[in-house]
Symmetry: C2
Subunit: 167 residues, 2 copies
């Protein structure tokens, strides 16, 4: 039995027809998110990284000079400043990131990736690519991503136009 389908049946039986499809969508999203995060966590566990910390390292490694102001990290990763502080604090304890004051503006705190951090993120990226990202589980990856981009846009995210059409 599919619990989501059963819930949808109940919604309709209670006269909530107008909400039944939306309920099934939101519940499916939550379930798929849970399943995908389980796969990501399993892939990152040998690297002693959470997905949040991986994302910080990945962004810093992509960035010229390997460093970014803490505030910029949060806006680029679309997460709350408190989450960035927590992730960077943990990464600093792991010696994968260090925090420093900006030379040009002493009020700005920078997070900078260390050589050890660069090694860790490249190894973790290989694991994620081969174990998760190259095996998404369905054929219609671009179609699904395009529909999710429409949902993001409806919530105010700015999304690339070509992702909307799935090209």
């Amino acid at each position: 039995m599919d619990p989501i389908r059963e819930a949808q049946r109940q919604w309709i039986a209670h006269g909530w027809d107008a909400a039944a499809d939306g309920m099934a969508l939101v519940t499916s999203l939550a379930r798929v998110h849970q399943l995908v995060m389980e796969r990501i966590d399993a892939s990152l566990r040998p690297h002693d990284l959470s997905f949040a910390r991986y994302e910080v390292l990945r962004l810093l490694a992509f960035t010229h000079g390997g460093e970014l102001p803490m505030a910029k990290l949060g806006s680029r990763l679309q997460v709350h400043p408190a989450s960035v502080t927590s992730a960077v604090g943990r990464l600093e304890k792991q010696s994968l990131v260090r925090r420093a004051r900006s030379e040009t503006d002493r009020r700005v705190v920078l997070a900078a990736i260390t050589d050890e951090g660069r090694e860790a993120v490249e190894a973790a990226t290989v694991s994620l690519n081969t174990e998760v990202f190259e095996k998404p589980g369905i054929e219609e990856v671009r179609e699904l991503t395009a529909l999710l981009s429409q949902l993001r846009e409806a919530s105010g995210d700015s999304v690339g136009t070509s992702m909307r059409t799935g090209e």
Copy 2:
């Protein structure tokens, strides 16, 4: 700028073409999940409920007699037993659920919804239906749900056949 599109560009620039689309899909899923959960949390806040506690109440209210064994609650909601224990514990403190031993098998702990719990879950359902589920943000709700069902099925979930085809 779309951070997900920028990440996809970086993935291709680093030669990880085979993983770029899957990365964009997983990252889009995480972002949409975050956006939808923000809407759900806002809708449930006036009812002093989290989505996890709402789901427990909703399932109990749907169930004949308004009670289920704790283990069954976990399997039906597809969550870890520890999460069920935590949610039911909190609901019990709110007087929305009470725990009792089964009359027929004293080893089994049942969670039973109270009259106050029934009132709370009906009010919360009205909020969720009108504020979230009836306004999913896109037209292609069934198409998106069907694609998500395919992903669930690929991960071992049993899904209803008609949800797979979006009918």
